[in-house]
Amino acid sequence: MNFDVSNLYAATAEIFVAIMILMVMLVTAFARDIARGLAYSLAQLTLIIAAFITFFTLDAEAKSEFAFNNMFVHDLAGSILKLMVYLSMMVALIYGRGYLADRKIERPEYYLLALLTTLGMMVMITANHLLVLYVGLEMMSLSLYALVAFDRDAVRSTEAGMKYFVLGALASGLLLYGMSMIYGATGSLELSVVKQAVPGADSAVLLFGLVFLVAGVSFKLGVAPFHMWVPDVYQGSPTAVTLILSSAPKLAAFAMAMRLLGGALPDLAEHWQTMLMLVVVASIVLGNFAALAQRNIKRMLAYSGISHMGFMLMGLLSGDGMGYSSAMFYAIAYALMTLAAFGMVVLLSREGFEAENIEDFKGLNRRNSWFALLMLFVMFSMAGIPFFVGFFAKFSVLQAVIQAGHLWIAVLAVLMSLIGAFYYLRVVKFMYFDEPADSAPLNASGELLVMLSINGVAIALLGLMPGTLMQWCEGAMKVTFAAAVGG
């Protein structure tokens, strides 16, 4: 068994990010006064260059390539998801910077941990081995725990960090236990070997492990009944961290679900689809009803996130290429929407004031009609009103689930999203038809204003022209699952 240097080419982006993490750490340790600005610029630069590397090594036609003794897989789906992760992190860092500076908690470690969590997600997205998947997951989660508790002098933030850490450790334990059962039954940790070994393996042990795997994945996605941490953690962490928490990790968790359930265990599909069905129904019902009762916008968006993740999992219920690509489209669309929504929360907050209540959006149209319009885009898109990106995302997963023959789930999902429309539209009503409760001008950095405008317009434009992104997702899933069949 030799180590081949050509392996390194496949993981150029990962290696680049890892080196830059060490650079950022060293540079900021010595640059005292300019450390924050430097860390921010270096982090953005890292993400941009990593995006270029991933983009230029992206090959739409090629089959999946494996490296590091089949532990690493390079395919179109991985590249697209990685690009979306870089994008989400870049946007989240832009939105969050002013927020942190206003609260005097902008420390260079924030950017360092953000880069580390990005690397963890990249590793998860390209993993083809249970061990690598787990290490990537831990790298992502550990950095997120620290980020949630980043406002270390605030009780709320540290409490949220503690809660997330304890429950996250439990979920990791469940996942590991499941992985050990799968390993025990199939004798391999490599996903493609597991896939081939499944038909001949002891099905009881496999199922036993599968239950734990589904539980672990569900926890990381934050879907009911493993959702308990979501509202408290979203509310307790600084909004700059909620931005990170709600966007990119969902993409990575989708990749994990896709690689584990779709890539390695397609032969057990009927079993995990039954489990996911329960999860989907619980999430969309609970998420939408609980969101109705919320006065705090961060909690409301957390519950709406639970229902969105339920919708996304609906795509996996059909278990064919179209289902996976619609779920991927949903995850990407959701990341864009949630970034814009929390971006608006950041925009309305200022030093000494957190725009946390839905009432804080009252009369936004009078204060600034452009951002009220953008928030209207975001809310309409999340509610699934036609010709925004959220509509096409919902439409494609519904199509997939109907094709899979679960008409009742589709009907239930539509009913629940009608109920969900109420709390999204309530925000719109507050913005347009109520008197402003707070007349302070919006003061935010130019960067934030420009990025938020681009983000809001992107939601509207992608809704008008979803074709390209949809084609990408479809092409990606074709490559990934074709390779999985061929071995």
Binding site: A18, A201, V205
Partner: protein, 225 residues
């Protein structure tokens, strides 16, 4: 029953009991000691699998370093045991029901599994056997796979440790400034201090002590720097 099978079951039984006691022991010190026992039995099982290097590392690193450190922390902290137990009875019924359900479900599934069939037999035909390794010793074999086959996760694990370091520093490091500055005492300034700078003797006429403010007597004349 072969002798090694007997030894395995012995260690496994001790391991399970010790693991249970870790979470049921009321005293954290006892829990930590049971964890030590669990590590020892796990080490024993690894020895049976002739992974002697791993077994010794487990005992040396976890028992020798981590657990001792942990015991120190537990003993130094003033833990309120009564508060730890608070709410135990309140949550017991629900917890017991869920735990029992889980145990029954796991039992039902496992009754069917792990029986007769040779576990991993399916995979044996598929996993390509790597070229025979000439190493006869454990450390050499570990080193071989760690730096070749498992180079990627190995490096990633190093980065996970880096995350732990960065996270710990970012959550706890405080520069000595602002409201924490007073905790820091410069030794030079202390040595250079003279009694004349710190204490002023004031001459005053003697007074009759008033009973109305007894606490005022404890106040020193005038102190400060």
């Amino acid at each position: 029953m072969e002798f090694s099978t007997f030894v395995f079951y012995f260690f496994a039984a001790v391991l399970v009991v010790a693991g249970l006691r870790v979470i049921t022991a009321r005293n954290p010190v006892h829990a930590a000691l049971f964890l030590v026992l669990a590590f020892f039995s796990a080490g024993g099982i690894w020895l049976l699998l002739s992974a002697e290097f791993l077994a010794i590392t487990l005992v040396m690193v976890y028992v020798g370093a981590v657990m001792v450190l942990f015991l120190f922390v537990v003993m130094m902290l003033d833990i309120d045991f009564a508060r730890l137990r608070e709410g135990f009875w309140k949550y017991l019924p629900l917890g017991a029901v869920i735990g029992a359900l889980l145990a029954i479900e796991m039992g039902l599934v496992l009754m069917k599994g792990f029986g007769g069939k040779e576990v991993a037999a399916a995979a044996a035909t598929i996993t390509n056997v790597t070229e025979p390794i000439e190493c006869s010793n454990n450390i050499c074999e570990l080193g071989r796979v760690l730096y070749t086959e498992y180079a990627y996760p190995f490096e990633l694990a190093a980065l996970v440790l880096l995350v732990a370091m960065v996270a710990a520093v970012s959550l706890t490091l405080r520069r000595r400034s602002g409201k924490y500055a007073e905790k820091y005492i410069s030794p030079e300034a202390q040595i250079a201090a003279r009694s004349e700078d710190r204490m002023i003797l004031v001459k005053m006429a003697s007074e009759k002590e008033e009973p109305e403010e007894p606490a005022a007597g404890a106040q020193p004349g005038k102190a400060g720097q």
